[in-house]
C-alpha cells in the first residue's frame, strides 16, 4: 500500500486511535493500529476488542492496501512531524514514512492478523445531534461506578430510547445521573430500547464525535450486542454490557416535600472549603436549611470546624442532612446552570438536584443518597 496525506490529518487520526489501544495487552497485534488505504481515503483503526474506533481522512492513494504499526510509537512520531505532506509505504512487515528530509522504517505486523471489524449488519438505528449527545455523555458517565468489583452493569451507562425520548442514566449506587432529550426523528414501533454501554466507550465517543453534526447510533450484529456510533469521519463500535440495568425509575422519588434554590457556584465554593476540613471523615458535610438560609458545617478532631452560610430560596420544612461533599460537588460541577434546585424528603432519603431553569430541549437531574451520621 502507498499513500500521501497531510501530517496533521494522520497525526490526529492515529493519536485518537492510540488512546483505545490497551498498553498492557499481551496480544502484540492489539498494540498496533491498522491503516487501510482505499480509493482516496485512509482509515485508521484501533481496538481493545471491547471498543473499536475508526477514523477516516482524505489522502492520495496510489496503491490500496493495509499495514499495522505500533500505536504509541507511531503516534509519538507523527505528533513530532512538521505540518505538510508525508508519504507512507506499507508492506506486511514494514511501514516506511517519508516526510521532507526524514525517512523512517517501522516494524509492522501482518494486517490480515488484525481483528476484523465487528459485524456491519445494522439493526435499530436512530440519530442524535452530536453536540447534544456529547453534553449528555458529560452529564452522566461520571456517576457510573468505577469499581470492577461491583460489576460491569454499574460501570456502564444506560441508553434508553422510547419514541422521540432519548434518556441516559448512570449510577454507582450512591448517586444517579439522568439526562433526557428529544430526538428530532422519533424511533417508531420499537417500544422502549435499552443499551448498557461501557462508560469509557462513551467517553471516547464524546472525545471523537463531538465535532460532527449528527451521530448515528445503530445496533450491530445478528444478536444486536454491539452498538455503533457513527459521525462524518469517525465511528466507534462497542460491545454492549450484558445484564439487567437497575430499575432507576423506582428509586427516584416522584415527589419531594421541601426544596432550596441556590446559587450553584457559591454552593460549590462553600462545599469545597468545608470538604477540606471534613477530609478525614468520609468527606462528610452537614447541610442545614432554615429561615431561607443554607448552612454548611463540617468538623474533624484533627483539622477543625467549618461553617458556611448561604442565602437560599426555601420551600417546605427545615431540614438537616449529611452528604459526602465530594459526590455533591461532582454533581454540581456537571449542572450547567447558574442556579440549582435541591429537593428533599428527609435526612435519610434521596435528594434530587437539578438546574432551577431547564435549558431548552434537555432535562437533567441527579439523585444523591445522604450519609447516615
Amino acid at each position: 500500500m502507498k499513500f500521501t496525506c497531510s501530517t496533521k490529518d494522520i497525526a490526529a487520526a492515529v493519536g485518537a486511535a492510540s488512546k483505545i489501544v490497551n498498553a498492557h495487552s499481551t496480544v502484540p497485534i492489539l498494540s498496533n493500529v491498522l491503516l487501510t488505504s482505499t480509493d482516496d481515503a485512509i482509515r485508521v483503526r484501533a481496538t481493545d476488542l471491547e471498543v473499536t474506533l475508526e477514523h477516516v481522512f482524505p489522502g492520495e492513494v496510489s496503491e490500496p492496501g493495509s499495514v499495522t504499526v505500533p500505536a504509541r510509537l507511531f503516534s509519538g512520531y507523527l505528533g513530532n512531524l512538521p505540518p505538510g505532506l508525508m508519504e507512507l509505504n506499507g508492506t506486511p512487515t514494514r511501514a516506511t514514512v517519508k516526510c521532507e528530509r526524514s525517512n523512517y522504517d517501522f516494524h509492522a505486523l501482518p494486517p490480515d492478523e488484525y481483528p476484523p471489524l465487528p459485524s456491519t449488519q445494522k439493526g435499530t438505528t436512530f440519530a442524535i445531534d452530536a453536540k447534544r449527545f456529547r453534553e449528555g455523555i458529560n452529564a452522566t458517565i461520571f456517576a457510573a461506578s468505577g469499581e470492577e468489583a461491583r460489576g460491569a452493569v454499574l460501570m456502564g451507562t444506560l441508553l434508553e430510547v422510547a419514541g422521540d425520548q432519548f434518556t441516559m442514566v448512570a449510577t454507582d449506587g450512591y448517586r444517579l445521573a439522568k439526562w433526557q432529550t428529544t430526538l428530532s426523528r422519533p424511533l417508531e414501533d420499537e417500544g422502549t430500547i435499552k443499551y448498557i454501554v461501557p462508560s469509557r466507550a462513551l467517553a471516547e465517543a464524546a472525545r471523537n464525535l463531538g465535532g460532527a453534526e449528527t451521530v448515528e447510533i445503530s445496533a450491530l450484529g445478528p444478536a444486536g450486542n454491539q452498538l455503533a456510533f457513527a459521525a462524518q469521519h469517525t465511528s466507534i463500535v462497542v460491545r454492549l454490557v450484558d445484564g439487567q440495568y437497575p430499575n432507576y425509575g423506582q428509586v427516584i422519588p416522584a415527589q419531594f416535600d421541601r426544596s432550596v434554590t441556590v446559587n450553584t457556584s457559591a454552593l460549590i465554593a462553600g462545599l469545597r472549603r468545608a470538604e477540606l476540613v471534613a477530609g478525614d471523615r468520609a468527606s462528610m458535610v452537614k447541610i442545614s436549611v432554615a429561615n431561607q438560609q443554607l448552612i454548611i458545617t463540617a468538623n474533624s478532631d484533627t483539622t477543625g470546624n467549618a461553617y458556611e452560610e448561604l442565602e437560599v430560596e426555601q420551600t417546605g420544612d427545615d431540614l438537616t442532612i449529611a452528604f459526602n461533599a465530594r459526590y455533591l460537588v461532582e454533581i454540581l460541577n456537571h449542572v450547567d446552570a447558574p442556579q440549582i434546585k435541591m429537593e428533599f424528603l428527609g435526612p435519610l432519603s434521596p435528594a434530587a438536584i437539578r438546574p432551577s431553569d431547564e435549558s431548552e430541549g434537555v432535562r437533567q437531574m441527579y439523585v444523591l443518597m445522604p450519609l447516615r451520621q
Binding site: Y174, T302, L371, Q373
Partner: protein
C-alpha cells in the same frame, strides 16, 4: 500459645472504679427488686457467702453491710472495649467469651515470652483502665482457662508445655470442660474424682462409660486440647497474607508485596466501613520462625498510603538482615466503625 483473661468481679470492680467510696466495701451488682439476683459480688462480699446468681434478699441476709448498686451496661461495654483493645494489640487472635473474658493467642517463639506478654497486658489493664484481670497461660485453651481460675483474683498462672497433665491431675474432674453434674455423678460412681484418674482410664472402660465422647474427655484430661482461638476478628481486625512460592529475600519484592497486601486490606476496610489504628505485619522466615511487628497511628485509618507507610516501617523494624521470607502478612486492628455511612440508592 494462649492466654485466658478474666476481669476480676468485673461489674463490681467497675462500680468501685467509678465510685471510690465503694472501694473496700462488700458490694453486689443487682437490680433492686424483690426477686432480683446478684449479677456480681465484689471480693469483699464473697467471704460472707455472697455469690453470683444468688437471690438478692438472701445476699442481704448473708451480709448486712452489703451495698447494692445497679448495673451500668453502657459503662461495662466501654471498659470491656478498652480491655479488648489491649488484648488486640500484640496478639494474633482474640476470642471474646463475654464482656469480661477472652482467649488471646500470642505469636511467641518461647513460652516465657507469652507469659511476659500476658503479664504486660495485665499491667496495662491495671494502669490504663484501673481494673484487675487474672490470666492463665498455656498451650491449650482449656488449660489456660483452668490456670486463670486458679490464679483468681488478680493472679497470673502459667502451665509450661509438657506439664499440662501433671498440672491437671490433682484437680477435681468437675473442672474439665464438658463435665457437668451428671457426668460427675457417673464418674463418682466409678470412684473417679480427679482429672488424673480420668486421664488414666483404659480405652475399654472409657468407651463403656461414655462411648466415643469419653475418649475426647480423656484427651482433655491429659491436657490435649487442639481447639483454636476462634478470633472474632471479622470486626476486630482485617488482614491479608501471602505465602511465597519461593522464599523471597529481595527487599524490593517484599516492599511490593506489602503494598499489594495493604491495598487488599485497605479495600476491605473501606468495604466494611472500618478504620483501624493498629497496623502490623507478620513475617514467617525460611526457618519457619514467625515475627510480628506493629505500629499505631493517631487517627483510625483505612487509607492505603498510611497503611503502606506503617507496614514498610514495620518491615524495616523486623531486621531481616537479608534473610529470606516464606510468608508475609499485613493487618489493621483496633478497628472503629466509620462515623458515617453512605446510604445506597438500591437499598
Amino acid at each position: 500459645m494462649i492466654a485466658h483473661f478474666d476481669l476480676d468481679a468485673f461489674y463490681a470492680a467497675v462500680a468501685q472504679l467509678d465510685d471510690p467510696s465503694l472501694r473496700g466495701r462488700p458490694i453486689a451488682v443487682s437490680g433492686d427488686h424483690r426477686r432480683s439476683v446478684v449479677l456480681t459480688a465484689s471480693y469483699e462480699a464473697r467471704p460472707f457467702g455472697v455469690r453470683s446468681a444468688m437471690p438478692l434478699y438472701k445476699a442481704r441476709q448473708a451480709c448486712s453491710e452489703l451495698v447494692v448498686v445497679p448495673p451500668t451496661f453502657t459503662r461495662y461495654r466501654e471498659l470491656s472495649r478498652a480491655c479488648f483493645a489491649i488484648f488486640e494489640s500484640g496478639s494474633i487472635a482474640v476470642e471474646g467469651l463475654s464482656l469480661d473474658e477472652a482467649f488471646v493467642e500470642f505469636d511467641a517463639e518461647e513460652f516465657k515470652e507469652a507469659v511476659e506478654y500476658a503479664r504486660r497486658m495485665r499491667e496495662r489493664i491495671r494502669t490504663e483502665i484501673g481494673l484487675t484481670a487474672s490470666a492463665g497461660v498455656a498451650m491449650q485453651k482449656m488449660v489456660a482457662k483452668i490456670a486463670c481460675d486458679d490464679g483468681k483474683p488478680d493472679g497470673l498462672k502459667w502451665v509450661p508445655p509438657g506439664t499440662e497433665a501433671a498440672y491437671l491431675a490433682p484437680l477435681p474432674v468437675g473442672r474439665l470442660w464438658g463435665v457437668g453434674p451428671k457426668t460427675q455423678q457417673r464418674l463418682a460412681a466409678e470412684r473417679i474424682e480427679t482429672i488424673g484418674q480420668l486421664a488414666e482410664l483404659s480405652d475399654e472402660r472409657i468407651l463403656r462409660l461414655f462411648g466415643r465422647w469419653g475418649r475426647e474427655l480423656r484427651e482433655l484430661a491429659r491436657g490435649h486440647d487442639d481447639r483454636k482461638v476462634e478470633s472474632d476478628r471479622e470486626t476486630r481486625s482485617v488482614s491479608s497474607e501471602t505465602t511465597f512460592e519461593y522464599d523471597v529475600a529481595d527487599p524490593g519484592d517484599l516492599r511490593r508485596t506489602l503494598h499489594e497486601l495493604s491495598a487488599d486490606v485497605a479495600q476491605r476496610l473501606a468495604a466494611q466501613q472500618l478504620r483501624g489504628t493498629m497496623i502490623g505485619i507478620k513475617i514467617k522466615r525460611e526457618d519457619f520462625t514467625t515475627v510480628g511487628r506493629q505500629t499505631t497511628v493517631a487517627e483510625p485509618t483505612a487509607d492505603l498510603e498510611t497503611i503502606v507507610a506503617a507496614a514498610l516501617l514495620c518491615l524495616d523494624r523486623a531486621d531481616l538482615e537479608g534473610r529470606a521470607v516464606r510468608l508475609l502478612g499485613v493487618r489493621v486492628a483496633s478497628l472503629v466503625e466509620y462515623p458515617t455511612s453512605q446510604l445506597s440508592i438500591f437499598g
